[in-house]
Symmetry: C2
Subunit: 193 residues, 2 copies
Amino acid sequence: MQDILFDFISKYVSLTEEEKNAIVSLDIFRSVKKGTTLLKEGQKSKESYFVLKGCIRTYYVLDGEEKTTAFYTEMEALTPPCVISKTPSEYYVSCIEDNILLVSNSDMEVEVNAKFPKFDIMCKTLSEELLAKERMDFDEFKTSSPEQRYLNLLQKRPDLIQRVPQHQLASYLGIQPQSLSRLRARIVEKSKE
Amino acid sequence: MQDILFDFISKYVSLTEEEKNAIVSLDIFRSVKKGTTLLKEGQKSKESYFVLKGCIRTYYVLDGEEKTTAFYTEMEALTPPCVISKTPSEYYVSCIEDNILLVSNSDMEVEVNAKFPKFDIMCKTLSEELLAKERMDFDEFKTSSPEQRYLNLLQKRPDLIQRVPQHQLASYLGIQPQSLSRLRARIVEKSKE
DNA sequence: TTCGTTTCTTAACTTAAGTGAACGATTCTA
DNA sequence: TAGAATCGTTCACTTAAGTTAAGAAACGAA
């Protein structure tokens, strides 16, 4: 399981055995059961998550309704905004499946970075990449209709549609569950013609 | 004008006079006329922009239509995704107003960072912050209606509504120009009641 | 200044999303 | 296992956005 992490890191920097051992000795691998809430609205947190196996989601509760805005699966990392801004969280983070996560603490990162400056470089590269990706995703969302967004998702992350409940997918697409149902029926209808 | 830049940088790291001089000597300040296109679709580029004065926008051309997805004004920075991914740009970047920009080149940054490691730290912090902000903006977009988005913009960036053409604002809000007109009329109508 | 283009608004019509309700099917839990 | 809650779908109705078209206003270039 650690190999997944080191494969990932190797895309950014190359690690010595010593460095790998240092990471392993931090004891940051954690198994988390489906349904577990990792972060609640109003909480403060210093934790970032890297998904080795499973799927986590972020959601807001607005007018008593859950609004799911993102999913993180294998090889994806989440640092909640509240960790960066050091303010109480505006959203929840919870586990859609049984997960194996890498949980890091921002205090710990300071230490690790002091020891291995390489890590700062990796974090910089990684967040620049993630920012570019996030902007492209946002642009794509803005410039397409709910139906196009669903078809896009079908192309780009077909696994999500299988492993995630429909009503969570719906808010991820920016619509109501009923609209997603209808839209799917419409697509099937079109494909019959 | 340089002071704006150093004020900005001072929020992340403190610079010595030597370091400030090194930056000034890079000669990266540039005046750019309204209407200038800084980046075209299909082009490769290594340039990032920091707006000291003015406003730039990013837009796609889809089916012959311009789709504006972002505006960058004073104290905001843009590194186009194509600079990160090293692939041809998917969008255009152009100047809405006469601008004073700081234009940096990714090759140059490597040099500067080698000389002043401080810069890597700043870039890391900055992109982490921007990523967190981008995600929150995206979340807000997903969870609100076009009308709510417009009202939000009115709160958060009222200047944009003044300085940017309506049809560009419309696609920024993810709707057609006619819908923005109608929506504005609707809001005025409501406020009369 | 004038002509042409772009921009903004309005209107009528079409299409799709929001809403509220109902109904099985599935899942959870006591 | 029985009962309750959740989930996905469908329907009818409402509301708002997309589309097409037209006209007025603002802007730019010759």
